[in-house]
Symmetry: C2
Subunit: 471 residues, 2 copies
Amino acid sequence: MAAKKAENFDDWYTQIILKAELVDYSPVSGCMVLRPSGYAIWENIQKATDAEFKEVGVANTYFPLFIPERLLKKEAEHVEGFAPEVAWVTHAGSSKLEERLAIRPTSETLMYEVVSKWIRSWRDLPMQLNQWNNVVRWEFRHPTPFLRTREFLWNEGHSLFATREEADAERDVIMGVYRKVTEEFLAIPGYFGRKTRSETFAGAEATFSIEHLLPDGKAIQGPDWHSDGQNFSRAFDIVFIDQNGEKQYAYQNTWAISTREIGIMLAIHSDDKGAVVPPRLAAVQVVLVPIVNDENKAEVLREAKKLHAELKRSFRVMLDDRDHLTPGRKFNEWELKGVPLRIEFGPRDMKEGQAVLVRRDTGAKRVAKLSGLSGEVERELETIQKGLFARASDALTKNTHSASTLAEVKKILDSHGGIVRIHWCGREECEARLKEESGGKVLNVPLDQRGKASCVVCQREGSIALFGRSY
Amino acid sequence: MAAKKAENFDDWYTQIILKAELVDYSPVSGCMVLRPSGYAIWENIQKATDAEFKEVGVANTYFPLFIPERLLKKEAEHVEGFAPEVAWVTHAGSSKLEERLAIRPTSETLMYEVVSKWIRSWRDLPMQLNQWNNVVRWEFRHPTPFLRTREFLWNEGHSLFATREEADAERDVIMGVYRKVTEEFLAIPGYFGRKTRSETFAGAEATFSIEHLLPDGKAIQGPDWHSDGQNFSRAFDIVFIDQNGEKQYAYQNTWAISTREIGIMLAIHSDDKGAVVPPRLAAVQVVLVPIVNDENKAEVLREAKKLHAELKRSFRVMLDDRDHLTPGRKFNEWELKGVPLRIEFGPRDMKEGQAVLVRRDTGAKRVAKLSGLSGEVERELETIQKGLFARASDALTKNTHSASTLAEVKKILDSHGGIVRIHWCGREECEARLKEESGGKVLNVPLDQRGKASCVVCQREGSIALFGRSY
């Protein structure tokens, strides 16, 4: 590992995700390949999120990849936001298409055109639809695997309600799912709040986000939820007959978590030895490495296979019985790849009826009895999972600062970055000045506001806002 | 239901899948929307297939949507097969791309370019990769939801082996998974065999398929497995060092099951009342309809809710307590949508401690005691699942004929269609003549061959082949 996390974060990040065989580059710049261990993380995130979605009544669907140009243009702000990044299909085989087709950068326009025909009465609402799919946004900035790619995988949730109250009430349910998944599965903390007007999703009335902090001191946006009000329902004529027999436009929300979140997670947990992946998401949770020499090989391997068979019932476990590699080489390889727990099992362990458990996150070693090994492994994995979240939370707290003047904000960001808690009057004028002078931006505005203080720019009365340089 | 299955199959098919709310059209011709009940079927097929894949060592991945034009052209036969149907991206935002990008019609070329870097030694093999994704083939023929769409969802499996023997041995494993999923989940039978040279996948050495029969007498291809030999490994330089230190090209296979299979399944099982969906795949397996009047409403609903809560532990069950619809309207709706089992529960049933179970497939009604209802429901669903497969198998057997002359083949296909077992010499000349004169084609050649007989065209010695008009 040439690049170190503390010295050269960008190079270190790219190096660990490539060497850990989580991703690879593809021949198209900005489009990445998710290798088996990388895709397994996404599968596990999907599984956890989807189970929660289903619990709250969300139904999965699949809408086509292509959006006709005329449709994309139907909501003015929306097309303005996405048009510069759209990949256009112009030909099929050797024929030129009559109308250009956008590869979906997000599916509002296509979905709402179709869904408008599915809704007639208030009885058809609420309707919470979702799809797990691929979208394309042709970024011209430098791509980074997971964090900024031209094609990415995500969920796009689209829900419709009869009233604004019901629509608004969905926010805490969906953001609650995302909070649970990010904290309990990805083991990363974040700050929840409302984005400013200038950072609101194209076509939405309000955007709420979870903001994470990368180890290099830059903030980065995680999952989000948008309140669209009736913007799209008016543009796409999504009308229902209410209980009084009156025509009404539906209220809509949209929400997403994407493969970007995997990059944030890896950047936060991993170290100079390689990737660190939380047990709940890892493709392989436990690797069992038998330590043998020519005399005891057959016997140790036979016992190791028994252990493997036992552990397989409860965990994603791999027996590394390759005989052309030394145990040391294997240890390095699995540390690089981020397997959360290593079990070493040699002739002495066999005699003593024990095994050695080694944590990937801390390197801590301890001996465990073979009787009840599954229970020990389960506790150890749980400890690792919680330990990762606790350490990430500590780091976030330590790197969250307060500032009451613009000069203080600048000083903090210039010296070590992080997230700065400021007071801000809420005016775009001050937001722009802050951005210009410090190179940072308002990340979001927490809902939990206690007391007022003067705006760091204009000294007018202001509310708490989170500020930082952002990825 | 205006169109009848027996009278106008094409209209009937489109009508039931639209009215059952399984799919909808999208604004782009040939691209369909999978509505919640339709997508749930695909999710369940995926889940069943994916579990089997993981059991045999297949690893999931994700490769990008875009294939640069130069890459698609790397294997000559392959590009010739796909180029006429490729959707081309030429612009991103307002910029023209330097090179056109194909939307993947299948991912061989992109995957193998990348995977060639992952393989160094025989120890890296076998490697069985898979992705569940969307692909685009811009068909110019009339599109039909599920059966022929320009975008569809599928699995594309791509595996690499050190020797031809190992590569060939994969065939029965993967086709075994597809056979299990089609028979035990979709409840549809099919004929397994080898496609002829002229019907072999573009770039492959051999293609094996499962061929199904639609109720209108036309055959249709289901899942397939292709042996690519070293065609692609030579084009993409997928080389490994074998155990003797020699460079070798890998042997490759590819395999797929797609959303087309859902259309085949629906066409086979459904009837003039609407969709029929096998219990293992249905979004809702059981609908519980309380039958109430003003006097007993509260009491019956309370008991129905208890039943619902109990059944929810084991089944995908819905309580239909809408009070603006009569039970009759509800029965029709759920029959249209293909819910496998209906439970009727009224005041008399409540008194007697029973419920009425009504099968969607046969319409058969029977009374079941509330004590042990879950067990009864489970048995009933299992009976429906098996009954569907048995009926479909009977229909396939009844509609499989034998012919020993070209005239007989034509007579059978002209009068009622179906699959015709013929003998064929294996020469392309006779295959072409058969096609020209009867409008059918050789579907596949069964592996299980007993004895020889004379070719229906040239009278030379021939093997058994399955023949029919094909979708």
